[in-house]
């Protein structure tokens, strides 16, 4: 056991993977000499050299496109987008190229690349540097999507992503980099594509991912003091999606809250809610409730920013009311 930050766990995953597999290299803006805008790759340039930590010009579409070509040529690129907000600039290379090459070309070749990036609120970074755009990725067939919430998962999911045969978009949360946890990196971990049940509870289940896992856990602890027991599911990967774990808990509790930091409309929470309604309808005591980001851009103002996404307090309040509705019925 050792205490480690989310940031260092990511770095350790890159280090271990690069040591094992010579074909892995990292490319992106400021990933080498600078050590990454959020310090994830700090030190790796000195360890692995300029050939394996490629500092690129500010040319996002070409960064992602070059990763596609390298992946088709026997290498395993880890391309980095400094902010997920820039994904729109690269969406052709990601959505029309990386995601479709295996299919369009009749299964001749895959694109085993990882696109590492980070998103979310928490730094007063404003409308163009604070978004949660995972739905863009989840909506695109052919792309895998991982969003680690814990330090251990930062390590294990990145290692697993680097063993996938298909393109993986790996979205970190900017507010988690400094988070520390005791981790044992050699302990058994949930396999790729399996959700983690962070907490059991029979009154309702909260389904979430990324930073909101921590908010949900905080809310669940407060709820517990009031006699309400909430299960918390951390999806870990959104594609593949572990719907079986969700189903099991829905059947057990009959009450479901889906939590996401992204704008509510047509987001990941909408997909999850729709699927739970469709497939678990008979088990639901009340409608699935989405607690998600407001349908607005993120402001630079600290107050507006913090209140435009779910907070532990909101999750707790809504959970309490959900349980009360059931009891009243």
């Amino acid at each position: 056991m050792a205490e480690m930050t989310y940031r260092d766990a990511l770095k350790q995953a890159l280090r271990d993977a690069m040591t094992e597999d010579d074909s892995i290299f990292v490319m992106g803006e400021e990933v080498g000499r600078y050590g990454g805008a959020y310090g994830v790759t700090k030190g790796l340039y000195e360890e692995f050299g300029a050939d394996r930590l490629l500092d690129t010009p500010i040319s996002e579409p070409a960064i992602v496109g070059a990763a596609v070509g390298a992946a088709m040529s026997g290498m395993r690129p880890v391309a980095e987008l400094m902010y997920v907000d820039f994904i729109g600039m690269t969406m052709d290379q990601l959505g029309n190229q990386a995601a479709k090459i295996r299919y369009m070309f009749g299964g001749q070749i895959g694109v085993p690349m990882v696109l590492r990036t980070q998103g979310g609120t928490g730094r007063s970074a404003g409308a163009q540097h604070s978004q949660s755009l995972e739905a863009y990725v989840m909506h695109t067939p052919g792309l895998r999507l991982a969003m680690p919430a814990t330090v251990a998962d930062a390590y294990h999911l990145l290692r697993a992503a680097l063993r996938q045969p298909d393109p993986v978009v790996f979205i970190e949360h900017k507010s988690l980099y400094a988070m520390k946890e005791e981790v044992n990196l050699s302990a058994p971990v949930p396999e790729w594509g399996k959700a983690a049940v962070r907490r059991e509870g029979g009154d309702l289940v909260i389904v979430t991912y990324s930073r909101q896992v921590h908010y949900a856990m905080q809310a669940a602890q407060e709820l517990s003091k009031k006699g309400v027991e909430a299960a918390v599911i951390d999806l870990r990967t959104l594609n593949p999606l572990d719907f079986e774990t969700i189903r099991r808990h829905v059947e057990k509790t009959g009450r479901v809250m889906v939590v996401s930091e992204a704008a509510m409309t047509a987001g990941v929470a909408a997909e999850l809610s729709a699927r739970i309604h469709e497939e678990c309808f008979d088990y639901l005591a009340e409608p699935v409730v989405r607690v998600a980001g407001e349908d607005i851009p993120i402001s630079v103002s600290v107050d507006l920013e913090a209140n435009s996404v779910p907070t532990p307090g909101l999750i707790r309040d809504v959970a309490e009311r959900m349980v009360a509705v059931r009891s009243a019925a």
């Binding site: 500010i58 007063s124 404003g126 509510m264 409730v289 402001s299 630079v300 507006l304 209140n307």
Partner: protein, 351 residues
């Protein structure tokens, strides 16, 4: 307080060649002082976040070009655009309030340092996407050409944006359609920790514009008069439908944003780079031209006091009310997005 950048200089200090330089010195000094206060606002924990990019060292680019703009002209800036906006006549109080994320800021605390704008001054917006503000000037140029007013639209961006494809798409269209547009690259030698030579083999930036049929020049940013002279010629051409590109060589005096201590560059690099100080240079030129040290010191003091007040203004200003978060997603006569809480209330309403 909104100042016209072309306002006449204090008569006493303005003699001979100093007449042209003094107002530009004053504007550059105001930019420098303002940026220093932005740094202070951050240190005092009163800024909205740390993503504040100071334009210290780039004052001649801001003032040399902005002092040539007139009513009707439009412009976009990058993330390091405080100086350009201030040089164009922005109110430093409202700027600082915006940087603090306050209601009385230019964008009501929603945009912040990297997304500040003022349509009244033709500022079509600062941008946190490298290259993001460039193509808008092509559209503004089209509108100006259609209106036949001779208004020019200017995109300001850093050397980092020289490697974004959208710049070349934009310059090509501007040239193809003879638009009243200008592209101004403020080459401060760095994009975060990457020196320009580490980002491209083609460091003769203006050549790229020439290859596309624009007029293209590079000017040293030490002497604001040089910047203004070259820019004048290019802007005049721009107004007549000959789009142009201008690279202005300068140095980013401090770290990329407030958290960056520039560990990737040497002290020697910084000492050498900071020798290219357009504010200091202009001040010395004024003295050499016969200006009175005491009068310059008085002017500096006045500016200092003006800029000190921006901090007080921003700190005293109130944050935007929470309900304002739903405003301006769409036009004001349209319904605002429904809050998540309202939607949840409806679901959980017990009959």
């Amino acid at each position: 307080m909104t100042q016209d950048v072309n306002m006449a200089a204090p008569a006493a200090a303005a003699s001979g060649s100093n007449t042209e330089l003094l107002p530009m010195y004053r504007d550059m000094r105001r930019v420098r002082s303002f940026e220093e206060r932005v740094g202070e606002l951050f240190v005092r924990g009163q800024s909205a976040g740390s993503m504040l990019h100071l334009s210290i060292g780039e004052e001649s680019a801001a003032v040399g070009v902005a002092s040539l703009m007139r009513k009707g002209d439009t412009f976009t800036t990058h993330h390091r655009g405080h100086g350009i906006f201030l040089a164009r006549g922005a109110d430093p109080n409202r700027m600082m309030a915006e940087i603090a994320g306050k209601e009385s800021g230019y964008c009501h605390g929603k945009g912040g340092s990297m997304h500040i704008a003022d349509m009244g001054l033709g500022h079509l917006g600062a941008n946190a996407i490298v290259g993001g503000g460039i193509p808008a000037v092509v559209g503004a140029g089209l509108a100006s050409k259609r209106a036949g007013r001779g208004d020019v639209s200017i995109a300001f961006f850093g050397d980092g944006a020289m490697q974004q494809g959208i710049l070349y798409e934009s310059m090509n269209m501007a040239a193809l359609w003879d638009l009243p547009v200008m592209f101004v690259c403020i080459n401060n030698q760095y994009g975060m920790g990457t020196r320009i030579e580490q980002a491209t083999r083609g460091v003769e930036l203006h050549q790229r514009a020439r290859a596309l049929g624009l007029r293209g020049e590079t000017v040293d940013g030490l002497d604001v008069r040089d910047v203004r002279e070259v820019a004048q010629d290019l802007i005049d051409g721009g107004r007549a439908g000959n789009p142009a590109f201008l690279a202005i060589d300068c140095y980013r005096f401090f770290g990329h944003a407030r958290m960056d201590k520039s560990p990737y560059r040497s002290e020697e690099d910084e000492t050498q780079g900071r020798a290219k100080d357009p504010v200091k240079f202009a001040r010395q030129a004024l003295l050499d031209g016969g200006a009175d040290e005491a009068e310059l010191a008085a002017l500096d003091g006045e500016i200092s006091a003006e800029m000190d007040a921006t901090i007080d203004f921003a700190v005293a200003a109130t944050p935007p009310p929470l309900t304002s978060m739903f405003r301006d997603v769409y036009a004001s006569d349209q319904p605002e997005p429904e809050p998540v809480r309202t939607r949840i209330d409806r679901i959980l309403a017990v009959e």
